[in-house]
Amino acid sequence: MSTEQIAQVVDAKGLSCPMPIVKTAQAIKGLVSGQLLEVLATDAGSVKDFAAWAKSTGNPMVEQTVEGGVYRFVLRKK
């Protein structure tokens, strides 16, 4: 569990593909390198999608949890 501060949270709960990824891409633009972005989603496809997004864009996933049907991803701006 990282103790670093989350710079911004994207609440994509209830949204379907492609909006969680789209909102994440838009949000990470506003961060500076090294800052953390937390994304909350309920789309079951987002587990694979966020792994693919992190790999493609080079913004590493530092944490990934699921609780009560809510997926939580923490991504570091490259």
Partner: protein
């Protein structure tokens, strides 16, 4: 037989691993938006916005029925001559007036699709188009289709690029764009 000694191979810089290169700059994506049906318009918009979100440069070439989607929603009749006008009357242009290729049932199918999309929080093609434009997706109308249907710049939605031809599309493919024909 004696072989002359080959000159020493010139020192070659180790080529960057293809994977690392791909990570540095993903391939550009070129979507050829040919069809005008609701479900295909949706696919185009989902892939275009996702491509942009994944860090790729996305271009969408708008041609034939696909170009009709990018006429302003409020336009009812387009074209200069009777046949062009008839064409637009038979198939209303604009992204909010798309029909399904199957199960259209005089608009009942699209109505149900849009209802389901709302229920499941799926963004509409129009919403996705606005997002795509905000994310820098480039939309390139086909000049030939513009001419054939008598479409003018003022008939089209704002923010489209300059009209181009097939050579531009092929050149982008030759440069290594990942092509999609929808």
């Amino acid at each position: 037989m004696t072989l002359t000694a080959e000159p020493p191979a010139p020192a070659v810089e180790p080529a960057p691993a293809p994977a690392a290169e791909a990570e540095a700059k993903p391939r550009d994506i070129l979507i050829i938006c040919y069809s005008g049906e609701l479900e295909k318009t949706w696919a185009t918009m989902i892939l275009a916005t996702t491509g942009a979100a994944m860090g790729a440069k996305v271009r969408v070439f708008l041609t034939f029925w696909g170009l009709q989607t990018f006429v302003k929603d409020q336009k009812r009749i387009t074209g200069d001559n009777v046949m062009q006008k008839m064409m637009s009357a038979m198939q209303r242009p604009g992204i909010s007036h798309r029909k399904l290729s199957k199960m259209n049932f005089l608009g009942m199918g699209p109505w149900m699709m849009n209802k389901l999309a709302k229920q499941y929080n799926v963004s509409s093609p129009k919403e996705l188009l606005e997002i795509a434009q905000a994310m820098g997706v480039e939309f390139m109308p086909c000049q030939m289709t513009m001419d054939m249907f008598g479409l003018k710049k003022e008939d089209m939605i704002d923010g489209l690029g300059e009209p181009v031809g097939a050579a531009t599309v092929i050149a982008l493919m030759q440069e290594g764009n990942a092509p999609l024909f929808i």
